[in-house]
Symmetry: C2
Subunit: 315 residues, 2 copies
């Protein structure tokens, strides 16, 4: 870590790597992106891409990387379903060898947590949970003023909390994981289940008339048009999101929830049902101040901004 | 807090208050108990009883109290369903006024967590979750080497994590809370559900032939006799316990689970099914060392021992 100089962070996604450079105040002063290499030999190509991207952003000695997968506390990427060829990759060490300085690596949702905690909607709080609502659900934990990584580095995998053991099968092998309901793919599933006969016609029209092709964005589009059936699906979705937030409240007792991920773009649709159901589902709501529920400040930049801030967080 | 002198801790239960005194090594050198006062005027009577009990144990200036309920970070007992007349009781402050020194107060499961972490099966670990399996489920959290209380002091309420939104109604008002299944009352419910026709005859016999009177201890008694139907209920119970532990693993990534509470007395029956199902239900078990699952060292003394150790834990 360097106290002066620019801090660069890169969020490695399945399709693109997004990089930012921050000034001393933590504001974004440069932004760049590259396609994420795929297929054979993609690990070397990935490292090349990340070095090139970091250099294009003027990196000198402070680089952090956010990656989509399980990251050990010493910066090894244990598994990343959306990155080709990755299995137990010491990505920080390999990048450090190429660049000549230490590179910090953490899970992408953990990075987003850092962004919102240190320089987003969670500034000044000691107990914050970030939940990314995207294709799946990721998460990050700040408790008692400390970023929590767990004994292996795998804390915050909220999406695979089982909330209905008789629920739909999850690709992870179990049934009824929270992300089967409360993610983008969950929203689509709730809509497809509801789209029988003539129900949800407006939503199905947004999917070119094919009920099986309905995705979360089609529900959102119809709901934004004011379609009441689509709004009922959004309400059901809000209940599932709130159920998981309520569980996490019992477990952590946070001061604030920050909701990020791709679905944060629809915040104005979701926030009311999520907040209302959360009030219904919370254990003993009359005995505590309700945690704040807010959408992330940094939107799609959160992972990269947080990666750039990793060097400011104690190990 | 005093660095020298004896440390006294009292675990206040719904029926009795149990006190211990510890020597400098944290070993129990004295133990005493009193019935918990009930009915009208019981708060003054409770304070009298606790002072008397502490004095009988030779307290000088170091007393900790564990109470069954939600305790704020400044030692107020917000709610305690099993203590008469308690609502937002500043129990630490009131005891401190009577005794002339500061008295620490925390939730009873949090106290048990301290006992096992500082002087029990979790010595030396930085990431520990304690789960008390009793009439309900309580819990406590150590993460990154710090006892975690949450922003209000209410962290660790694991029992009210919803694991099946279509499940049985919980007294808390919701459906399918974990403690509906994985507690002593959960074990009894699983047995009563299974006891149709001639099924579970051995268990029902232990309950004097009344299927509706079956309690967890009747299932245990029949299982200890080797009754295969009772063992099947224990297996189902083990699956529910494991489901919650798996959820908590995704969330915290602990190094060790410590199981305490009344059901810990049946450890030899439960540990195998819990451990086996946990291996089945855990997310990506091949990518991490499995957390240890152990039963508490301190058994019924855990709350009192941990209360005595509260003064050694930073606020």
């Amino acid at each position: 870590m360097t106290a002066i100089g620019r801090r660069v962070g890169i969020d490695v996604g399945g399709t693109k790597a997004l990089g930012v450079a921050l000034d001393a105040d933590g504001e974004v002063v440069a932004e760049d992106r590259r396609p994420t290499p795929r297929g054979d030999g993609s690990i070397d190509a990935l490292l090349d891409t990340l070095v090139e991207l970091a250099e294009s952003l003027g990196v000198d000695a402070d680089l952090g990387i956010g990656v989509p997968g399980l990251v050990t506390r010493d910066g090894r990427l244990r598994a990343a379903p959306n990155l080709d060829g990755v299995a137990d990759l010491p990505i920080g060490e390999l990048l450090g060898e190429r660049l000549g300085f230490d590179v910090r690596v953490d899970n992408d949702a953990t990075c987003a947590t850092v962004a919102e905690w240190r320089n987003g909607v969670g500034i000044g709080t000691d107990d914050l949970l970030l939940v990314t609502l995207g294709t799946g659900i990721g998460g990050g934990v700040v408790a008692n003023g400390t970023l929590q990584r767990g004994t292996n580095g795998f804390a915050g995998e909220f999406g695979h909390m089982v909330v209905d053991p008789h629920g739909p099968r999850c690709p992870c092998g179990r049934q009824g994981c929270w992300e089967r309901y409360a993610s983008g793919s969950g929203l689509a599933m709730l809509a497809r289940e509801a789209a029988t006969g003539h129900r949800l016609r407006a939503v199905v029209e947004h999917a070119d008339g094919d009920a099986q092709a309905v995705r979360g964005e089609h529900v959102m589009a119809a709901a934004l048009d004011g379609d009441t059936e689509a709004l009922a699906v959004i309400d059901d979705f809000g209940r599932w999101v709130a159920l998981g937030l309520s569980n996490l409240t019992n477990v952590f007792d946070p001061e604030i929830f920050v909701l990020g991920g791709g679905l944060a773009a629809g915040a104005e649709l979701y926030l009311e049902p999520i907040t209302r159901w959360y009030g219904e589902l919370l254990y003993q709501p009359h005995l505590r101040p309700l945690p704040r529920i807010e959408f992330a400040r940094w939107g799609p930049l959160a992972g990269a901004v947080g990666a750039a801030l990793l060097s400011s967080i104690p190990d």
